[in-house]
């Protein structure tokens, strides 16, 4: 009995250590990305490849693969599991993986061995099949759903263009808090409480999202046909069909374009 007790405590301790060291590796905030630490970089919200600590996660059309990067020059596949249909993107926050798909939002937790375990699934009302990148912090997940673009697979059966905010305090029970109508929202980015929504033809919208029930629009670049965004701390990289724009948001009262990299047709 006593041995069991000690063993259990040791196990709990090991798990805790595992989680905390894991979180150290991967507790990656966008504001720290500028530091050249030989670590990982930062991707947009449409990413399907994600390096976190010593692991590489790849989502494909219906599942997620885990590769060990113990030797970073030689990835070794250690896990392969099915998730659902039309998997589109993967986002990481604090040991949790948020996976956007045409059928719903999936939340997986990375275990100490690097392998993700499913914690929850929030299915959309079928049949919708929207396209939906997701970003998250400790409390909220922000999902964009869009179906407007005819050339995309989205919205096979219905039209839905909105930003949804979920309470994810309990990752096993994500709760839909509020929905905001959008024009044709695509990529989404988050830095602290600053939320970036790429609303395609309706431009790039930047919100103070401290209160999910009362988003305050800080800036609206109507001329940037934004598709995806990477917030880097003071600077946001914004992808659009004509340019990669760099937006300086170091002063939230004066968010402005800094430069652009042209894309030729």
């Amino acid at each position: 009995m006593k041995k069991w007790y000690i063993a259990l405590h040791l196990l709990a301790l090991a798990i805790l250590l595992g989680i905390s060291s894991c979180a150290d590796d991967i507790g990656f905030r966008s504001s720290e990305t500028a530091a050249a630490d030989g670590g990982t970089g930062i991707a947009g919200s449409y990413a399907r490849f994600l390096t976190i600590g010593d692991y590489l996660y790849i989502v494909d059309i219906d599942g997620i693969q885990t590769f060990s990067l113990s030797d970073p020059s030689l990835p070794v596949k250690i896990d392969d599991q099915t998730i659902g249909e039309q998997i589109e993107s993967i986002f990481h926050h604090n040991g949790n993986l948020f996976i956007g798909s045409g059928s719903g939002l999936f939340i997986y937790q990375i275990q100490s061995d690097g392998i993700p375990t499913k914690k929850s699934e929030y299915s959309y009302d079928f049949p919708v099949l929207p396209c939906d990148p997701v970003v998250a912090n400790d409390t909220y997940a922000y999902v964009t759903l869009h179906t407007r673009n005819d050339s995309s697979p989205c919205g096979l059966f219905a039209t839905i263009n909105e930003l949804r905010i979920f309470n994810i305090t309990d990752i096993e029970n994500p709760e839909l808090l509020v929905t905001y109508p959008m024009f044709n929202p695509k990529g989404v980015g988050l830095d602290g409480t600053t939320l970036f929504v790429c609303d395609d033809e309706d431009g790039l919208k930047i919100f103070d999202a401290a209160d999910p029930f009362n988003l305050i629009q800080l800036q609206h670049f109507t001329d940037i046909q934004a598709f995806d965004v990477i917030p880097l701390g003071d600077l946001a990289l914004v992808v659009a069909p004509d340019n990669v724009y760099q937006i300086d948001y170091s002063d939230l009262a004066d968010i402005k374009e800094l430069s652009r990299i042209p894309i030729l047709p």
Partner: protein, 176 residues
Amino acid sequence: MKKNWFLLSLLFSICLFSCIDEEVNEDWSTNGMRPVYSNADWRVISDSEPQNIRELGKIYYKDGFIFVNERGQGIHIIDNNDPLTPTPVRFINIIGNYDISIKGNYLYADNVSDMVVLDISNINDIKMVNRVEDIYPATQQQFPQNYNGFFECVDPSKGTVIYWTNDILKNPKCQI
């Protein structure tokens, strides 16, 4: 969920069914996806002088550099240490590439159905150090991913499908 699977399998059956040649009485056109082919050996990874961005894909950022995917064709490397004057420095040719991620000096990229590992410690001398085969089923070679609608049937004799582009199709015989 079961319903989803049923519907998906139904869609695929429709696809298979509609890929069978049918008699078309008169010409008609519609919006759809057309495969873009390459006859180059898709396994060859090379780097070259900077190129213009034409088919913008996803972006990735690390340590002052922006990595911009050229859909199905490779990666533009842009030096952004001075964000006022972003400067293209290199282009890596990777056929069938859409996604990348980086750890330390290693860049992981999809290359049609494989993943390649590139050593980027010297941006001016990027080397492929490894290839992991068959990480994806090569469905990209058969139909456009995450898409529903008409598409131009793939003709493997034309080469490897490097990406799909939206176009007006005449008498398309394939649909998903």
